[in-house]
């Protein structure tokens, strides 16, 4: 029997970490992820876990310590947000290229400036090309479930890459909501012991971590890294299938909601997806053929899979909770358009920047996106393809 609880998203992730009982957690606090190491250090103090908690002096040090611990052979995790992730930038690439399956709880928050503590995805998008697996969560439940699945994906022998489990700052991290927890023993059995093949503290084999690669080797190393990242798609699906057996909850690379017969869909990620489903239901009640696709696995991007799921749809809105400053498209807009172009699909795609710096995302505002798609069909005029949603005049 699962455990019926009510927890904030931060508490939920801290509970998953307690159940996993990792070897090492280096962490430095930053809003809105601070509660995660705060709850976890209480678990350490209470003897509920035997993790070595390392209170470091910066996020740069947190990721450096995580790299050191993971390379030594210890299962390691940390948590951060916004500028904290930005300060880890250099180390994020090192962790990925050294193939260290560190787990990071990212509580998404806008990057400065102007200084802002609220949610958007600009922090995660800054790390988009670092070689980490990135998974986004809609709710406290998904943040918990995704964290329980994290190490099984990251540590898999065909992958061996760091993983970032993202949830929306304040919106889910600080909202108390219902959640179904899995019993401690079941989580422990599911996650299993960490048995790395190669690690620095292994007496039976020496190894080097993070060596210099001359031009004759660098490119091949990166190509191998890409292959491992691509493998995360297959592994994430296998892990999700096993997870369903212990939880009853189904996960894929993405979730489709009423897309089969849809003429208009939006592609979205994170907490606004739930609000979007409500918008879909309200418009469906009026007979409008609308649907939604929520991306769960953002890196690696499930390009062919998404194209196959939506290429029949005529009008698509890609929703980006970040500004890319390329002048025409956000990260999801770019990836979806590339996927559709490669699939030779004939879809009209427009792109919205929404919810940045914590701008509230309402059912009404998301309904207006579908209405804009319907208007394009009616008038035949696409107009601008790049919009800001709920922008004040």
């Amino acid at each position: 029997m699962s455990i019926r609880e009510r927890l904030s998203g931060n508490e939920a992730v801290a509970v998953a970490m307690r159940q996993i009982n990792p070897d090492v957690m280096p962490a430095f606090p930053i809003t809105p992820s601070t509660e995660i190491p705060q709850y976890f250090s209480a678990f350490v103090a209470n003897g509920q876990v035997d993790t070595a908690f390392v209170p470091v002096e910066s996020e740069h040090s947190a990721m450096s310590a995580a790299i050191g611990a993971e390379a030594a052979g210890a299962r390691t995790l940390t948590a951060t947000s916004s500028c904290g992730l930005a300060l880890m930038w250099e180390e994020l690439y090192v962790a990925a290229s050294d193939r260290l399956p560190i787990a990071l709880a990212l509580v998404n928050r806008a990057l400065s400036g102007p200084i802002n503590i609220n949610c958007d995805h600009s922090d995660a998008m800054g790390a988009r090309d670092a070689g980490w697996i990135q998974i986004f969560s809609e709710s406290n439940q998904e943040a918990y479930d995704n964290f329980v699945q994290a190490y099984r994906i990251a540590e898999h022998k065909d992958v061996r890459l760091p993983i970032m489990i993202c949830q929306d700052g304040f919106i889910t991290s600080h909202a108390v909501e219902n959640i179904e927890l899995i019993e401690d023993d079941k989580v422990k059995a599911f996650v299993g012991e960490y048995c790395p093949e190669n690690y620095l503290l292994n007496d039976n084999g020496t190894m080097a971590v993070g060596p210099y690669a001359i031009p004759a080797y660098y490119m091949e190393t990166k190509r191998a890294q890409l292959e491992a990242l691509k493998n995360a798609k297959k592994v994430a699906l296998e892990v999700a299938e096993e997870f369903e057996k212990i939880s009853g909850r189904k996960y894929g690379l993405f979730e489709t909601y009423k897309t089969e017969d849809a003429d208009y869909i939006m592609i979205i990620m994170g907490s606004a997806a739930g609000t979007g489903k409500e918008a879909v239901d309200e418009l469906r009640a009026e007979g409008k053929k609308v649907g939604l696709l929520k991306i769960r696995l953002f890196r690696p991007f499930p390009s062919e899979e998404i194209a196959n799921a939506i290429k029949h749809v005529k009008y698509i809105a890609c929703m980006d909770r970040t500004e890319s400053f390329n002048g025409h498209s956000g990260p999801i807009g770019n990836d979806v358009r590339t996927a559709l172009y490669n699939a030779k699909a004939d879809c009209e795609v427009i792109n919205y920047v929404y919810g940045i710096g914590g701008r509230d995302v309402t059912v009404e505002s998301l309904k207006s996106v579908y209405e804009a798609l319907m208007e394009i069909e009616k008038t035949g005029d696409v107009g601008e393809r790049y919009h800001y949603l709920s922008l004040r005049d």
């Binding site: 009510r6 304040f170 889910t172 909202a175 108390v176 609000t275 409500e278 995302v361 059912v363």
Partner: protein, 190 residues
């Protein structure tokens, strides 16, 4: 959210409006509901106006936005009536609960012509009598439970006793005072 009861709390930083919204989520959760309790975050400081929200439903809650057309509003600090439009979007079939010692007729004048039901409670008086200190949390929580009717009083008091025993495990002496504050508030809110 057609099937959810939506509540908006207005308070000042440090008065515990956020805590009260989380306590309401807790007690509704304990009676088998789906709940959301969340504050609206900004630059926080003692005394600044803050807003917190609840959704309470028999069905799973998917919406993650603030609440603009609440069924109920709770005002923890009456001085906010001069600076915050507390009845903004409030449904007229709903109600507002205000912590004040003033007569209801005087308070209604400050509500921009709100047509729905208005309830008042002197949470300071209740709190001083029950606890000897001013904590508006418990009286306001009891008031909104009574006004919304989301659970019967007996269930509410039993659930709260359980959670106080858990919350105040290290200082059981305050449990009786808080229970008294809840019981008094259930009678006093009008």
């Amino acid at each position: 959210m057609a099937n959810a009861v939506e509540i908006r709390w207005h308070g000042r930083g440090g008065q515990g409006a956020k805590t009260a919204s989380l306590l309401l989520a807790d007690v509704a959760f304990n009676t088998g509901k789906f709940v959301q309790g969340f504050p609206e975050y900004g630059p926080e400081r003692m005394g600044a106006p803050i807003t917190a929200y609840n959704r309470i439903s028999d069905e799973k809650i998917r919406v993650h936005s603030n609440i603009y057309e609440p069924d109920f509003v709770v005002v923890v600090d009456e001085t906010l009536l001069d600076s915050v439009d507390v009845t903004k979007g409030l449904k007229k079939e709903g109600a507002i609960v205000i912590n004040t010692s003033q007569p209801k007729e005087d308070i209604i004048k400050k509500l921009n012509g709100y047509e729905g039901k208005v309830f008042t409670i002197d949470a300071r008086k209740v709190s001083m009598e029950a606890l000897g200190k001013y904590f508006p949390n418990s009286p306001m929580l009891a008031s909104i439970v009574k006004v919304t009717g989301i659970m019967d009083e007996e269930t509410f008091l039993n659930e709260m006793e359980g959670s106080f025993k858990h919350k105040f495990a290290s200082k059981p002496e305050v449990i009786e005072g808080n229970m008294k504050a809840l019981r008094l508030a259930l009678q006093e809110v009008k």
